[in-house]
Amino acid sequence: MSGSKQNDVNGVACHACARHGCYCPGSMVDILEGEKQAVIDYSGSETMKTINMEQMRKFLAIYDIMCQYYKKRHLRFSNNPMITMPPDIKYEKAIGQFHVHGHKDSCFFRFSSSFIPGAGQVDGEVLETLWGALNQISWAARTTTLAHRAEILDDHTNDSNWKKLINIGEYE
């Protein structure tokens, strides 16, 4: 189980497109033990490099605990040479529509994605549905080697992206 002493990796963290739910390349990282901010920082930094941010002025990140994650984020990025953020891009902060209602009232008004101009109608919970699909196979990777586990998760996340791409015109 996650958090037990027998584990060397407790889980994964990832970025995905809020509109259609494609996994962002290079953004899936292992959660070794706590260290959540550093883990998400790195995932976000890698996401910036792969999702074609040229000519973009804003970057909207929707995260369950954005209200505490964003604090001192710029300090963490400036103190650590391994993570970078494009300097001229505005970082917009939001919390998904399911989680924001579980927070304090003030979080709803400050972080709900429905109040952010340009965000459109996004619920910001698409990764939960992706995890639902990924969890069907991730238990099979628990006792493999770390390299094999990375390959399994890589293959299935890539397959999810691919199926999404070729079936995007289907309407039901």
Binding site: N10, G11, V12, P25, G26, N79, G120, A150
Partner: protein, 78 residues
């Protein structure tokens, strides 16, 4: 504006191996997964730059410990 969702998944865990040094990495950082060695370097760096306790400027640790050791009468009567 690009919109992305961030989340962690604690179900995709991994059990410690007996001989992790025998692991063979065919690919690393070519797909959705992040490049491993660079990520581990980052985690090591991130630990070093931990911020100080918010109470560090407030009182030295020895003073706080001394106040904690005081009997309740001393604390409340003065």
């Amino acid at each position: 504006m690009r919109s992305v969702v961030v989340d962690g998944n604690f179900k995709a865990d991994h059990v410690r191996q007996k001989r992790p040094e025998d692991d063979v990495w065919l690919t690393s950082g070519e797909g959705i997964y992040a490049e491993r060695t660079r990520y581990l370097e980052h985690l090591a760096l991130a630990k070093e730059t931990k911020e100080a306790s918010p109470y560090a400027h407030y009182a030295p640790a020895t003073l706080i410990a001394a106040v904690r050791r005081m009997p309740a009468i001393v604390l409340f009567e003065h």
